[in-house]
């Protein structure tokens, strides 16, 4: 959502990208008519490095698990990453009998693609499989669950502590067949090359550079599935090659950042080619909250007021997405949760004099053009991974803008692995990072602000790596986790938004985009601004929801 690309390689790409930008406008779209034949859907597939390895284990970490696996194994329900709204799959619905007890009602008449019936025993087996093999529990369901039981078509999940929003994580676990997986010796290293699931598609053929799915004729909602075959040609790990591939028009659905998309993509086939780049996450400056001066909320506010977010978004993502609301919510996706008391929907515009006032409150004054306190000038190092070109572009702009208020900024742009290591260990001043994007306010705020993730410096953490600690926030998160009533949930969310807005633990900058590119030549019904039922991502279970919405063109 937040990145330009699916996988990025080194500096080489930048060179091609620039060639591509210069040259594409002159292209005539000569080869834009080679999309799929009738009944076939072609999706820009996984990045092969350089070839694919057959691995349809739904619990393998995503680079190894082929993305198409999502169309073979279904979860109970899929929450939309736009607004958290559920689409039911193997379950028909759920209720919380109390904030610690979650009951799913399962769909009847569902069959595995080998003909055996699906039952609640499969669900219980799957969750217990994750309990036995912690390495498979990639979403950490057993960090919250204490027990799972079945009776008839009902499955009851018990939580250790009240955690209503965690239902989204439980619902999304892909369910596997007990009669097949019970005999798998090492499910962690299992590649599952003959997958049997309940989903709409089955593996047809596998080749090192492309795998093909065919429709599952016994799928429980087979009438809603229009394509009879899906092709997933392997992508290059070279981003610029992928951009050329996408613009040549061979995919019905692809996910790629393209510069000047109207010229480079839409103009190739104006009748069919369309795009939707909704916000899918928020990019911000994560300040190391264990270090002075970032510990001072007034200093953080000063930073926030000193920035022109429009310019930053323009430089970073071509203005495809705009400046971020400081409420922490992605707007308009989550407008229903927005605290009406926040001025201007939580948007903050550049205001140098207000910024200087905030800095002054923190004890900083401008001396000889430099922002200083006690005779010491402020300097900071911003770290960002060098292959995230949008972050790097934004970082350069931030450097210029903060320079204007007298803060000397230097940029540290290492390889991603090195960046990841630095932020996880807390060894940074200021870091670029992604915030939110799950569609569930609790999950977004909890991952970023819960003090239980704030490990000491040198102990790695992925969540809350800025190391924010505030008992009132923890309290609000606990309240939100325990409330099942919409009104109480909203009040708790408002509290968290106010903390985001007033204390600025993270200086949010702009929305990262989700880069959906569609051809309506063979299929319509793609998600769009007027029908935003799902983010257009090709790499998570959004795919399953979108497949049930497609219609013949």
């Amino acid at each position: 959502m937040t990145r330009h690309s699916r996988v990025r390689s080194a500096a080489v790409c930048a060179a091609v990208a620039s060639i591509a930008v210069l040259g594409l406008s002159a292209c005539k779209g000569a080869n834009s008519n080679n999309t799929s034949a009738a009944g076939v859907l072609t999706i820009q597939g996984d990045a092969g490095d350089p070839t694919l390895t057959a691995n349809f284990n739904p619990f393998a970490p995503p680079p190894n698990q082929l993305e198409g696996t999502r169309l073979i194994y279904e979860p109970l329900e899929i929450p939309s990453s736009v607004d958290g709204k559920y689409t039911p799959f193997l379950a028909t619905g759920f209720t919380f009998t109390d904030p610690k007890t979650l009951v799913y009602t399962l769909r009847s008449g569902v069959k595995w693609s080998d003909g055996k019936p699906f039952s609640s025993a499969d669900v219980v087996f799957t969750f217990n499989l994750l309990k036995k093999n912690a390495a498979l529990d990639t979403t950490g369901v057993w960090t919250q669950m204490s027990n799972i039981t079945a009776s008839g078509n009902k499955v009851t999940v018990a939580f250790k502590t009240p955690n209503v929003p965690f239902a989204t994580t439980v619902a999304a676990v892909p369910i596997v067949a007990q009669h097949l997986w019970a005999s798998v010796k090492d499910p962690v290293k299992y590649t599952n090359t003959k997958p049997v699931g309940t989903g709409p598609f089955m593996l047809d053929t596998f080749a090192p550079t492309q795998y093909v799915f065919k429709k599952n004729p016994t799928y429980w909602q087979a009438s809603k599935i229009v394509p009879t075959q899906i092709k997933f040609p392997a992508q290059s790990s070279n981003q610029s090659t992928n951009q050329l591939d996408v613009t040549s028009g061979k995919f019905d659905w692809s996910y790629n950042f393209l510069p000047d998309v109207k010229k480079t993509y839409v103009a190739k086939d104006p009748k069919h080619n369309s795009y939707w780049f909704p916000p899918g996450g928020t990019i911000g400056l994560f300040l190391n909250l264990t270090k002075s001066p970032y510990t001072d909320a007034n200093f953080r506010k000063g930073l926030s007021l000193a920035l022109n977010r429009d310019t930053i978004a323009q430089k970073a993502v071509n203005g495809y997405t705009g400046p971020a609301s400081l409420s922490g919510l992605i707007l308009p996706n989550l407008e229903q949760y927005l605290d009406p008391s926040l001025p201007n929907k939580g948007n903050v515009t550049q205001n140098s004099s207000a910024a200087m006032a905030a800095f002054q409150q923190a004890g900083f004054t401008k001396q000889g053009g430099k922002l200083s306190k006690g005779g010491k000038a402020v300097s900071m190092t911003i770290v960002a991974p060098n292959n995230f070109t949008d972050w790097v572009a934004a970082a350069k702009e931030v450097k210029t803008q903060l320079g204007a208020v007298g803060i000397s900024v230097s940029l540290d742009l290492p390889q991603f692995a090195q960046y990841q290591q630095a932020i996880a260990a807390g060894k940074f001043d200021v870091a670029f990072g992604g915030f939110g994007g799950t569609g569930i306010p609790y999950t977004d705020f909890n991952n970023a602000l819960n003090s239980k993730f704030a490990t000491p410096i040198n102990t790695a953490t992925v969540n809350n790596f800025e190391r924010f600690k505030d008992p009132t926030v923890d309290q609000a998160l606990t309240t939100l986790a325990a409330s099942t009533a919409a009104g109480a949930q909203k009040q708790a969310i408002y509290k968290l938004e106010q903390v985001m807005y007033n204390q600025v633990p993270i200086v949010l900058l702009y929305y990262g985009g989700s880069w959906g590119l569609f051809s309506t030549k063979h299929y319509t019904g793609w998600p769009s601004a007027s029908d935003p039922y799902m983010l257009p991502t090709t790499y998570n279970n959004a795919m399953l929801v979108i497949l049930t919405h497609l219609k013949k063109a």
């Binding site: 990145r3 080489v12 060179a15 529990d137 991502t537």
Partner: protein
Amino acid sequence: MRYVLTKIGLFVLTLWAAVTLNFILPRLMPGSPLDAALAKLASTGQQVTNAQRRAIEAQLGSPHGNVFSQYWDYLGNLAHLQFGRSFTDPTRTVASSIAKALPWTLVLVGATTIFAFVIGTLLGVYAGWRRGKKADTAVTLGATFFAAFPPFWLGLLLLYVLAFKLDWFAIKGGYSEGLTPNLSLSFLSDAVQHSVLPALTLAITSLSGWVFGMRNNMINTLGEDYVTFAEANGLRSRTVATRYAARNALLPNVTAFGLSLGAVVGGSVLVEGVFSYPGLGHLLFEAVSNHDFPLMQALFLVITVSMLVAIFIVDLLYARLDPRVRR
């Protein structure tokens, strides 16, 4: 005989040094396989959580034990030619990944190296023989022109013009999507078509080196007394050029050729990257960016060993070709 023994001793010592460096270097890189895996996940825009981090840590084959026990295991495994499993995808063995990529590189880079050597050397002989004439100027100028191209840049240019704009060739890969490598005629012709652009890139950019080397050797040799003597004897000029001058001028080029054959196995990281070619160079690039230590070590080992073997063979051959070095 002493010469050969010294060379063998040197070979073993260099091999040990290379093997040890090969162990140390990847571990000096900042970041771990785990960080690289999280990077991959985050680059698709997915939110990474601590739970994911723990699960991935458990799934990946992370290094176990302290550095010394790792080194000891490493030496032991090498002795048995056991390279283990890839860290990034523990379902794959390192040996199978290399075996899959090796033929592509051997054929592509090997064939273009031989082609560039033969054509480049012939052009060099010709240019050297006609030194100062129009033909020499044309060849030298042309070679200078192409030598100035960085290979990956020329690759990008060819890719953009011939593959994307004109649609004559595929823009990526070693063969068409959906095919499985086999030895049938239809597959081979598909593979050949896919290899035209990378081969052209490699050939054009490596040609110049051979041309310059050969031309300069030729000019030196042509100044030798025995060439003047042969000319004075009234031999036909072509005989003088090929039998007398070129034959002797070829010696240094043969050495260089041996070395570049040794380097073939390393593939061409940049050119294979540009064309997403399924060879060793591309594999090496991926291994390094994923911090896949076992794969990296095995690749570096294959590359260094083939280089050392090439040097060793060239050393021995030289002793046969030029008796002076034996003393």
